[in-house]
Subunit: 419 residues, 2 copies
């Protein structure tokens, strides 16, 4: 077991705030002295999300706790899910059946265990305590919070100021999250900076119930590949943990240079000093941004797919973007061992007299969202079939099984003719 000081150093790295640090130190001291692990809580929605690099920030911190010998509790908020996400005001949405919740939790953990140590992870469901809770219990919890304090929470404050309705049940959510900490007797809770208020509510309720309050650790929220908004599925700016290596590599390469260092810090395992060295090199101009970004992409892909896949992903990326000795991207790609071009089946009924409208191929393969986007891509001379430029948007063409459709330099699909 590492010393308190060593543990603190690891835990503090990249954490936004530790509230309060002294209490974390005390807890660690007791843990080291007694040999008893700390209980680290992390709350999870019982939806079936595509986990992405944004989710990975807390998960990787949890993994650090595990590696230090502590116990991680993934709390599945299945009770909360019955009611609906407050920010959506959709309280009448049907209650998720237990099988679906179980399935969603499975989907979550399948991905999360790419980062977490399964054997040191406990899964809990908050319906276990909330389903049994009486109205009287709820009133007692609610009495611990004032309306003014709840209205200080950033998102509530801004909605109230902008006259965007806040349902009263939404005020109960921080309290529920807080009570989860009581039920779990957690020593530490971690989450994004946006969770700070709710996690501090846990401290209050633990004190009210005579428990030692948990330490709250807030972690930065990772920006998406646009470099501006927080990474999220709904923004379409995310890099999923289960995305194929090539896709992941390409997406990392698409981030603006300005947030490379942030990705190094929050999404790789590089030691702090190495990140500082890179930052300095970039600032001084002794390191080239494009090369550093390739390193970043390789580091990230290695975490989720291993070194070999990362190497291949880099070759694929180079094949697509670096013009080599007059070869086409497809020809270059063909030389990469183990690389598979994604395949899409075109069902026969899409054809008329053996032919199919070229724009329809693009939309069917997901290379264009709409017919007009498809037309635009063709007009921009961005579409090739078997390396041959498509020059007209009105073309009906005959395609064969195995033909390759290419949009821009990066996007490739191999066509399969279905029945």
């Amino acid at each position: 077991m590492k010393t308190v000081q060593e543990q603190l150093e690891i835990i503090c790295q990249e954490a936004e705030e530790i509230l309060p640090l002294e209490e974390l130190q005390e807890k660690l001291e007791r843990s080291v002295a007694s040999g008893l692990p700390l209980r680290i809580k992390y709350g999870v929605d019982p939806t079936a999300p595509d986990l992405h690099l944004g989710h990975a920030v807390p998960l990787r911190k949890l993994r650090e706790f595990q590696d230090l010998g502590h116990e991680v509790i993934l709390l599945i908020g299945d009770f909360t899910a019955r009611i609906g996400d407050p920010s959506e005001r959709s309280i009448t949405r049907p209650q998720l059946p237990p099988e679906i919740i179980e399935e969603n939790a499975q989907t979550y953990t399948d991905q999360a265990f790419k980062i977490l140590d399964k054997d040191k992870t406990t899964i809990e469901y908050n319906s276990n305590w909330f389903a049994k809770m009486s109205f009287e219990d709820v009133l007692k919890l609610a009495a611990q919070f004032t309306v003014a304090r709840l209205l200080e929470r950033d998102d509530f404050a801004s909605r109230y100021a902008q006259e965007i309705p806040i349902g009263l049940h939404e005020f109960l959510y921080p309290i529920m999250q807080g009570y989860d900490s009581v039920a779990l007797k957690s020593d530490v809770e971690l989450g994004g900076t946006d969770q700070k208020f709710n996690m501090l509510a846990g401290r209050d309720l633990q004190k009210y119930f005579g428990q030692e309050p948990q330490v709250v650790i807030t972690l930065p929220i990772l920006e998406g590949v646009d470099g501006v908004k927080r990474m999220s599925k709904s923004q379409g700016n995310y890099i999923g943990l289960t995305e194929p290596p090539e896709e992941m590599f390409g997406k990392v390469m698409s981030i603006p240079d300005s947030i490379m260092i942030r990705y190094f810090k929050l999404a790789t395992c590089l030691p702090e000093e190495e990140v500082k060295r890179i930052e300095k090199g970039l600032a001084e101009g002794s390191l080239h941004p494009a090369e550093i970004k390739r390193r970043l992409a390789r580091e990230i892909v290695t975490i989720y797919h291993g070194k070999e896949a990362a190497d291949r992903a880099q070759k694929v990326f180079d094949a697509k973007f670096k013009k080599v000795s007059g070869k086409t991207a497809v020809e270059q790609l063909a030389t990469i061992e183990g690389f598979e071009i994604p395949e899409v089946v075109l069902p026969k009924q899409l054809f008329e007299s053996g032919k199919i409208w070229v724009v329809k191929i693009l939309t069917h393969c997901g290379l264009a969202k709409t017919n007009s986007e498809g037309r635009r891509l063709i007009q921009q001379r961005a579409v090739r079939i078997n390396n041959e430029l498509v020059t007209s948007v009105d073309l009906d063409i005959a395609v064969s099984d195995g033909d390759i459709v290419q949009v821009g330099k990066r996007r490739l699909v191999r066509l399969r003719i279905g029945n």
Copy 2:
């Protein structure tokens, strides 16, 4: 059964607001057509209050509904009482045991049945539904209200503006009161103007649960004998429904002339036209305020104690306040048949060598609150014992069983020497 129009006239009299009047009319029309009574809800705290003329305002309106053939439901808020009055923030107060709640309800109804018709009154307890309610149910109810709307309630708005804490559980109270209407399927709820928000919450929840919303009737809040603040026990400005006739009469005589008409309207059974006639007479100077106030006092005492007691109370009052043919107040009082001077026991241990400090007599008998008030009364030459003026505050005196202590003109106590 009276016609809809006749009923409306009676119901509307002295009501502050009827929300909405058209719906009340519709409900009455259906009731008249079907012969089915309306369900009239009135909420009652399960404390053991001294009911006073302020409480009598809604109770008398309920009685009017009963006389029109409708059903009155007294809702005892026993569940609410378990948690504590929100305005006191004392949520940890011990849960009232069912026997005490039953006893308090009994105390309440014993007094209320001086006004209500017992046979047309149903008693309900809201623990019947709230004790069974789950957290999920609570969240669904809470979701029907926005924080902004709750903050619009007058008292919440002013507390929020003044930064006086509002516990989140307090926000749940209007919702609970509203849900009571759902559980009772009430057609009408009535209460003081301060209850308007909570009663309207009932309409919202009834709609949410697919019921026809109740009509809300707000009634004026009666001022206390000071003529300024609302009548309440804590303000000490109340006239209790069970006070002895003489006490009641005297208290009514002490109200300022300016609120006599309001008392006529809200606390007597006089028809509207008669009150108008009195108002006119006072304004024109053709009626004498002191005489009108004696009438008011007699009317009120008659309601709660009958005509005979009212007559006697008037004689007692006159004996105390009207100098008649040189007789002392005590001598005059002695001539009134059936009048008893209240008695107070002085325990022997209060005496030293057979004597007692005169100020101590006043405080012990409740004729002065403090020693300094007692001294002041004596210095103001307001204290007599057996009709003899007490001239010094330092007197130790010997008193005998049956002696009469008098403070000012009105307050008399007969001393009894205890063991």
